[in-house]
Amino acid sequence: MAAYLLRRLIQAVLILLGVSIVTFLLLFLVPADPARQIAGRSATPAMVESIREQLGLNLPIYQQYWRYLSALLHGDLGRSYLQRTDVSTLVWARLPASLLLMAGGIVCELVLGLTMGLVAALRRNSRLDQGLMIASFVGVSAPQFVVGILLLYVFAVKLNWFPIGGYGSFSQLVLPSLTLGVLGAGWYSRMMRSAMLDVLRQDYIRTARAKGLARLRVIFRHAVPNAILPIVAMIGIDVGIFMSGIVVVESVYGWPGIGQLTWQAIQRVDIPIIMGVTLISACAIVLGNLLADLIAPMIDPRIKLR
């Protein structure tokens, strides 16, 4: 276990190093000149030159990367061109809102997905099963902005059950979380269905039935926990999908999180913010995958460590 852990950690660090190189090179590809952008339109060539000097843009590329990396290691993601604030400060201030939204998204996708999958498996090949599986296909085929706008229209504008937007109360959290969770619910319902069908075929389920246990007890005590565990271990992987999703969902609902920050930065071509968020997302994905790989064998001993 310790050797496996160490190897996975080293892999993760190497990938993160690669990620930093890719984001650094992307910064280089940007057609806009950062010094000119910071200086503004009325700046004299001398001012632009001094900003260039300050940012180290005249240094050779490997020295620039080294400056970039050592700043990163000190938690410095650079400064926003337009908001004149450190990117890390901006991100840090908006992190709680995004984490709340992601937590809501995870709850929605698990509750929806696992319930749909469970019902479909128990009513296998019935009309209900077919209907649920078609619904799960629609869930993975619907772009999040369409789901978001439709939910807004039906539940906020027409039915008036939830507020149209804003941040702070529980009722404002429901629709954005649901929007973020629909995609995952589609995947989880299909995984849960096939996992349940697999488990129900096992010998220990037949034994439990043969002992004369009630059907519900067999399902909820013996089958469901075994079907759910390997699926729940994959939540870490969802982080990556969510990092993309929050850009769309937060822009639809005006949710004041990292996604909205990114969206505004895109509109104004504020490169340091875009790059900072990309880097943080990549870290989140690497960590999420690492967690998924570590948790899975812990809760399911049948998985062998490689």
Binding site: I15, L16, G18, V19, V22, L26, L29, V30, P31, I134, F137, V138, V140, S141, A142, P143, Q144, F145, V146, I149, L150, L152, Y153, V157, W187, M191, S194, G240, I241, M243, S244, G245, V247, V248, S251, T262, W263, I266, Q267, V269, I271, I274, M275, V277, T278, S281, A282, I285, V286
Partner: protein, 302 residues
């Protein structure tokens, strides 16, 4: 009840050669796949014939296309799906938008599958330092969230139709590369390849006579499923305003342009949203059925 002593059946279908006629027949027998095929066919026909069947010029701001207060018209006998914020016919814009969305979806996915297959085959078949480097690079790309990376790339370069295609392809080749790599590796180690080698066949012969034909089913499955992903990505980028630029209609940017009206004119979001979902759903249904038919052992998330 009998005690099972028979050996595990060999998964012969795993690398079964690709046989088109039988596959089409099996697809047509599945109701969901049939539905998907019909929808795809209908959208393709409408997109190709759009210039001849549109009731209005998609960019024409018709004189009677807005109410006296200047808001869009609801669906009516003259404008079947209503008009948009500039008084343009929504049906005509959707039909032309189908051309953009299909073109980008198919082209981007074609490029992504080509790059992915090339990387996967080179790394899986030849291996070595180049192969290892390619797969480490693929791992690295997987650390970036796909949509966010596409957003970054699209925001950095000035968006045009072909930039959007390239951006989407750059994001989507990664999964294909991983899958083709795994398939090629497992193929290269099988007995019939060993036997060929023993008979003196060279790399080229093994690659073109044996490996490539067996990879065709994977390419077909991903070539179909992937179009669903790429059309969704195009719609999302266009919705964020960094994909296809107005006035060229695409299903995503129609919603982008009109979303401020969605409370008073919901059809401007409803109809484009519906066609996006229908198209992505259809490619998903057909792709999933193809995967079932061609490779019964491989299921799960993609």
């Amino acid at each position: 009840m009998s005690v099972a002593t028979a050996p595990e059946p060999v998964p012969a279908a795993r690398h079964a050669p690709f046989q088109p006629p039988g596959i089409v027949g099996q697809l047509l027998r599945r109701p969901l796949a049939l539905f998907g095929l019909v929808v795809i066919l209908a959208i393709v026909v409408l997109a190709v014939t759009a210039p001849w069947i549109v009731p209005f010029d998609p960019n024409e701001q018709t004189f009677d296309g807005l109410t006296l207060e200047g808001s869009p018209l609801a669906p009516n006998a003259r404008f079947w799906l209503g008009t948009d914020l500039l008084g343009r016919d929504l049906l005509s814009r959707l039909l032309y938008g189908a051309r953009t969305s299909l073109l980008i979806g198919i082209a981007a996915n074609g490029i992504a599958v080509a790059i992915g297959a090339f990387v996967g085959i080179v790394a899986g078949f030849f291996g070595g330092i180049v192969g290892a480097a390619l797969m480490r690079f693929t791992d690295l790309m997987m650390a970036f969230p796909a949509l966010l990376l596409a957003i970054v790339l699209a925001a950095l370069f000035h968006p045009s139709l072909w930039i959007v295609v390239l951006v989407i392809a750059m994001v989507n080749w990664v999964q294909v590369a991983r899958i083709i790599y795994t398939e090629t590796r497992s193929l290269a180690q099988r007995e019939f390849i060993e036997a060929e080698r023993g008979l003196g066949a060279g790399n080229a012969r093994i690659l073109f006579r044996h490996v490539l034909p067996h990879l065709l089913s994977t390419v077909v499955v991903w070539g179909t499923l992937g179009i669903s992903t790429t059309t969704l990505l195009e719609a999302t980028l266009s919705y964020l305003g960094i994909g296809v630029q107005p006035p060229t209609p695409s299903w995503g940017n129609i919603i982008f342009e009109n979303q401020t009206y969605f409370t008073s004119a919901p059809w401007l979001v409803f109809f484009p949203g519906l066609v996006i979902i229908l198209l992505a759903l259809s490619f998903n249904l057909v792709g999933d059925a193809l995967r079932d038919i061609l490779d019964p052992t491989q299921k799960g998330r993609h």
